[in-house]
Amino acid sequence: MYQKRVVVCLDVKDGRTTKGVKFLDNIDVGDPVAMAEKYYLDGADELVFYDITASSENRNLILPIVEETAKRIFIPFCVGGGIGSLEQMRKVILAGAEKVSLNSQAVKNPELITQGARAFGSQCVVLGMDAKRDPELPCGYRVYINGGRTPTDWDAVEWAQRAVSLGAGEIVVNSIDADGTQAGYELSLTRQISQRVNVPVVASGGAGVPDHLYMVLTQGFADAALIASMVHFGHFTIRGIKEYLKEMGVPVREFWG
């Protein structure tokens, strides 16, 4: 039976894992490789490294992390943050990542999605989207870039559809309003996008308790739910979250040896 995924996100800054609230005030929470291995052993279905390093010289610090992670964990993982060229995509894939997430750069240069899909296949190209409530737009959410600082003209649903037509194989929908609040995922945004595109949708931003994952995987129609704070601060384990989901009737991967 096909299973819903629990994806753990590690925000990496200057080679360390951090966690912020509403994209600000990041605090150090640990060594990304050790954390990746711990989550792998605890039953994470997938991992995402999101590089939020500001300076371009420290950007390269992500590559040794990807290489080391690929030696220790045997589940898929994705790398995102600041990737703006085919060459950068190739580097992280050769370092051992399965997928590359394009975010701001995809908005600035949509052709990059198509180039990436042609070179590596659509399954490698994840569109990462940051969206914020905006009643002026048809779906009620506007796409933001540059770490949530810069608004774009894109309606979130329209951008998702456009990205899929360009070759994106999966969409991570991150709610800026919900990010770091631990008050629950943005269900309406996730549901609208999941209903309007025919690729898997990963919900992101706002998870605080296992029931939030249950809600977004059922009523939000998400195929996967991304979590960070819930497990980084030790309040929950992935195993515990999955046990809850299973109890609630959501099919999850429950045996990993």
Binding site: P76, E98, G121, F255
Partner: protein
């Protein structure tokens, strides 16, 4: 020694890391003559069937693989590397290697499921030395828009449900192929790879 075919497939690094983890001696080869000492072969694959076949032809792999199969030596195709073993793929209307009778089809849009299938799913394995002892509760990681359809039911070695039931593991004599990625399927996937590396058909 296990040979790993390098024809620019996207999951090459992951396959190498998994084989290293299992402690096997391996050789990554971009030319067939680098694999004279290999006793088994892994044929990875992520990407497009037509461009993959083209790259394989350029390096002379099709002849090598036909001889390999004829000699009865073990081969494991993964994902695209499994699809290419069949005769034909709808992806780019590509003529493939033809080591196993059958063809590769796109998931129909009307199934009501997301395409590609990305994520974890279970496999109902038939009895086979490489699949023996795997926990039936285990899940494996799939990423694909196309699926394999074997001509002869005897070549179907495992099936999976995703909007429809499709063949997720197949094989003929010493040739074995899986649609999922054992190198990315956690401990059960590593166990499967380990059992393949020990398999002497």
């Amino acid at each position: 020694m296990v040979g790993i075919i390098d024809y620019g497939a996207g999951n090459l690094t992951s396959v190498i890391r998994a084989v290293e983890k299992l402690g096997a001696i391996y050789r990554v080869a971009s030319q067939p003559d680098e694999l004279k000492l290999a006793t088994s072969l892994i044929f990875p694959g992520v990407g497009h069937a037509a461009s993959a076949m083209e790259r394989l032809r350029q390096a002379g792999w099709p002849e090598f693989l036909l001889q390999w199969a004829h000699a009865g030596k073990p081969l494991l195709g993964i994902c695209l590397g499994s699809q290419i073993l069949l005769e034909f793929s709808e992806e780019g209307n590509t003529t493939c290697l033809g080591l196993i009778p059958g063809s590769v089809k796109r998931f129909p849009d009307k199934l009501g499921v997301k395409i590609p299938q990305i994520g974890w799913n279970t496999v109902d394995f038939h009895d086979h030395p490489v699949f023996r002892g795997l926990d039936p509760r285990a899940s494996y990681y799939f990423v694909h828009s196309y699926y394999t359809e074997v001509t002869y039911p005897a070549h179907r070695l495992g099936s999976t449900e995703y909007g429809m039931v499709f063949t997720s593991a197949l094989g003929k004599d010493s040739i074995l192929a899986v649609q999922f990625h054992p190198e990315k399927s956690g401990q059960p996937g590593l166990q499967l790879l380990d059992q393949f590396l020990r398999w002497r058909p």
